[in-house]
C-alpha cells in the first residue's frame, strides 16, 4: 500500500465519521419479535422508520403460525409470511411511518401492533 493510497483512506475515514448519523451504508436498525403459542413477543413496539423487524419462530417446538400485515399506513407494502412451525424467520423493513397491525391468520387471538416513527 503506497502513501497516497493510505492518505486517501484516511480522508475517506474522516468524511465517513463526520457523516455517521446519516450515512447511507449504515445497517438499518433491527428489532426482533419472537413467535410463541399463541402470541407475538413483544405484541407492541415503537420503532424508527427503516427499521428491519425480524419475526423469529422457536427452534425447538411450536405450533404453525404466520405473520400477516392486516392494517397498514398508506403507501406501505403488504406482506404475509409463509406458515411455519420452527426454525424459521421472516423480516421486513418498515419504510413508511404509521401504525401496522399484524395478525396470525391461523390463530385469531394472535396479533401485534407496530408504530413506525419518522426518524429524527
Amino acid at each position: 500500500m503506497g502513501v497516497r493510497a493510505f492518505a486517501g483512506i484516511a480522508v475517506a475515514a474522516t468524511v465517513a465519521t463526520a457523516a455517521l448519523p446519516a450515512q447511507a451504508d449504515d445497517p438499518p436498525p433491527r428489532k426482533v419479535v419472537r413467535i410463541y403459542d399463541n402470541f407475538y413477543s413483544p405484541d407492541e413496539m415503537k420503532v424508527n422508520r427503516d427499521t428491519v423487524v425480524v419475526w423469529k419462530w422457536p427452534n425447538d417446538f411450536g405450533d404453525v403460525h404466520d405473520v400477516k400485515l392486516k392494517e397498514k399506513p398508506k403507501g406501505a407494502k403488504r406482506f404475509h409470511s409463509d406458515p411455519a412451525s420452527v426454525g424459521y424467520k421472516f423480516k421486513r423493513k418498515l419504510t413508511v411511518s404509521g401504525k401496522y397491525h399484524i395478525v396470525c391468520t391461523l390463530h385469531e387471538e394472535m396479533e401485534m401492533d407496530i408504530t413506525v416513527r419518522k426518524r429524527r
Partner: protein, 432 residues
C-alpha cells in the same frame, strides 16, 4: 390444538381478547403461464430431459385443470400451490405405492422446510400418491380453499400435522396414513359456517403414534368414518377453542371407526418434539389415554365405532369451561349410540364412558354393556332421544378435570390386557 385442552385447567386463565380477522389472499400468487392451445395439459416431473425436474417447476407452469404426474423418486422441496387460476389442479404421484414418491424436508431451509405441500386459496386441488417426511410444520396443508382431495398419502414426522385443512369448505382426506406428529395426524379446523354446508369427509385413514390421532378445532360438517386411530395420546378430539374462529365444533359425524390403544405417553419420550415451556404460556398439557374426547361441541353423532383398550376412557365429553365465547362452551345435542366398547370384553377401556352431565339434549343409545363409567351410577347416560338439561354431576366433573390436568399422565389409568391384533403393537412408552 396444542393450547387447547389445557383449557380445562384454564379455569385459572384469563384469555386475552379475541378479534375477528379477514383471511389471507395468496401472498404472491404470481401470474399464470400462457396456455398455448387452450387445452388442459398433463405435465410430467421426472429425470428425463423433457420433464420438469421439480414438482414446483411443474406447478409454476400449470393452469387450472392441469394434471402433474410425478415419477417415482426422492424430491427435496416444499411445494406451494397459489393463484386461484390453478383451480382443479391435480398433482399425482404413485397412488398404489405412495412411499415411492418421497418428499423429504431434511436439509431444506427456510419456507421450503416447513410444508411438503402448501395450498393457499386454490380450490379443488387434488394431491395423491406421495409420502412426506421430515418437514417442520405440516405434510399436506391447505388453507382458504373450497374443495380438495388428499388421497393415497403418507405423512411421517412432518412437524405439527400430517394433513391439515384450515378455514376451508368441503373436501376429502382418504386412504392415507399419518404418524409421528407433535400435534395431530389429521386436522380440520376453523370451518366457516355455511348456509348450504359442504361436508368434509375423512375416511379410510390410519393415524397412530401422534399426540392426537385427529384434532379439529371449531370444525363443522365433518364426517370421520371407516378409519383407525391407535397408539396416540388421544384418538379423536373435536374441540372448541378461542384461538381459532367460528367456535364451537358442530354438525360432525364420527362413525364406524376403530379407536383403540390410545395410551401413548409421549411425555416420557417420543419421535417428535414434545411441548415447550408450559409454565411460560399458562398452557396445560393434554391427558393421555382417551379414545374420543368431545371438548365442547354440539350436534355430533358418534355411532358404530369400536372403541377399546384406552386406559383413561373410551369416550369422554365435557364442556369447554374456559372458552371466552360463552355461548359456545357447552356440549349440546350430541348423540352417542350404537358403539361397541371393550371389544366384547377382550380389550377393556379403563372407563368406557366419562361424562359429567354438562350441556343439554345429549343422549346415549344402545352402546351395549358399558363398564366402569364415570360417574359409576350411569346417571348421566340418558337414553335417546332426550331433551333438556342433562344435569351436571360435580364429583364426576371434578374427577374428569383431575384426569385432564394431572402431571402424572398415567395416574388415572385403569389398565387391562390388550387382545392380540395381527400387525399392530401397543405403544405406551417410546423406546425407539
Amino acid at each position: 390444538m396444542r393450547t387447547g385442552l389445557a383449557a380445562i385447567a384454564a379455569l385459572l386463565l384469563v384469555p386475552s381478547a379475541a378479534m375477528a380477522i379477514d383471511y389471507p389472499s395468496p401472498k404472491d400468487p404470481g401470474k399464470l403461464p400462457p396456455r398455448p392451445n387452450g387445452q388442459e395439459a398433463t405435465l410430467h416431473v421426472c429425470k428425463k430431459p423433457r420433464c420438469f425436474h421439480s414438482i414446483q417447476e411443474a406447478v409454476n407452469a400449470s393452469r387450472g385443470g392441469d394434471t402433474i404426474k410425478v415419477a417415482n423418486g426422492k424430491y427435496k422441496e416444499g411445494v406451494q400451490v397459489k393463484n386461484k387460476g390453478r383451480r382443479g389442479l391435480r398433482i399425482i404421484g404413485n397412488k398404489k405405492n405412495p412411499g415411492k414418491v418421497l418428499l423429504n424436508g431434511k436439509s431444506l431451509k427456510g419456507a421450503k422446510a416447513q410444508n411438503a405441500f402448501f395450498v393457499n386459496d386454490v380450490d379443488d386441488v387434488t394431491i395423491r400418491g406421495f409420502k412426506a417426511k421430515n418437514y417442520k410444520a405440516n405434510g399436506f396443508f391447505l388453507t382458504n380453499v373450497t374443495g380438495y382431495l388428499l388421497k393415497n398419502l403418507i405423512a411421517q414426522h412432518t412437524g405439527r400435522y400430517g394433513a391439515y385443512a384450515f378455514n376451508s369448505k368441503g373436501g376429502t382426506m382418504a386412504k392415507s396414513e399419518a404418524y409421528e406428529m407433535s400435534d395431530s395426524g389429521f386436522y380440520v379446523g376453523q370451518t366457516p359456517p355455511q348456509s348450504k354446508p359442504k361436508r368434509t369427509f375423512l375416511k379410510n385413514l390410519k393415524s397412530h403414534t401422534n399426540v392426537l390421532g385427529y384434532s379439529g378445532t371449531n370444525m363443522r360438517y365433518v364426517t370421520i368414518q371407516d378409519s383407525q386411530f391407535w397408539n396416540n395420546g388421544i384418538g379423536i378430539v373435536p374441540n372448541a377453542l378461542d384461538s381459532e374462529d367460528f367456535a364451537p365444533p358442530e354438525f360432525n359425524v364420527i362413525k364406524d371407526n376403530e379407536i383403540f390403544w390410545n395410551n401413548f405417553n409421549y411425555y416420557l419420550g417420543a419421535p417428535f418434539p414434545v411441548t415447550g415451556d408450559e409454565t411460560q404460556t399458562g398452557v396445560f398439557p393434554f391427558p393421555v389415554g382417551l379414545g374420543i374426547l368431545l371438548f365442547g361441541g354440539r350436534d355430533t353423532l358418534i355411532e358404530g365405532n369400536k372403541i377399546y383398550g384406552n386406559y383413561a376412557a373410551g369416550f369422554a365429553m365435557i364442556d369447554q369451561l374456559a372458552l371466552e365465547q360463552e355461548d359456545a362452551r357447552t356440549v349440546d345435542r350430541n348423540t352417542i349410540q350404537g358403539n361397541e366398547f371393550g371389544l366384547g370384553g377382550m380389550d377393556l377401556n379403563g372407563r368406557d364412558i366419562a361424562y359429567d352431565g354438562s350441556g343439554s339434549d345429549n343422549c346415549f343409545g344402545d352402546n351395549g354393556d358399558t363398564q366402569n363409567n364415570l360417574p359409576a351410577d350411569n346417571s348421566e347416560l340418558v337414553a335417546c332421544p332426550f331433551s333438556g338439561a342433562n344435569g351436571v354431576n360435580t364429583d364426576a366433573r371434578n374427577e374428569m378435570i383431575q384426569i385432564s390436568v394431572d402431571k402424572d399422565r398415567e395416574a388415572h389409568w385403569i389398565k387391562h390386557p390388550h387382545a392380540d391384533k395381527a400387525g399392530y403393537t401397543p405403544l405406551e412408552h417410546y423406546g425407539g
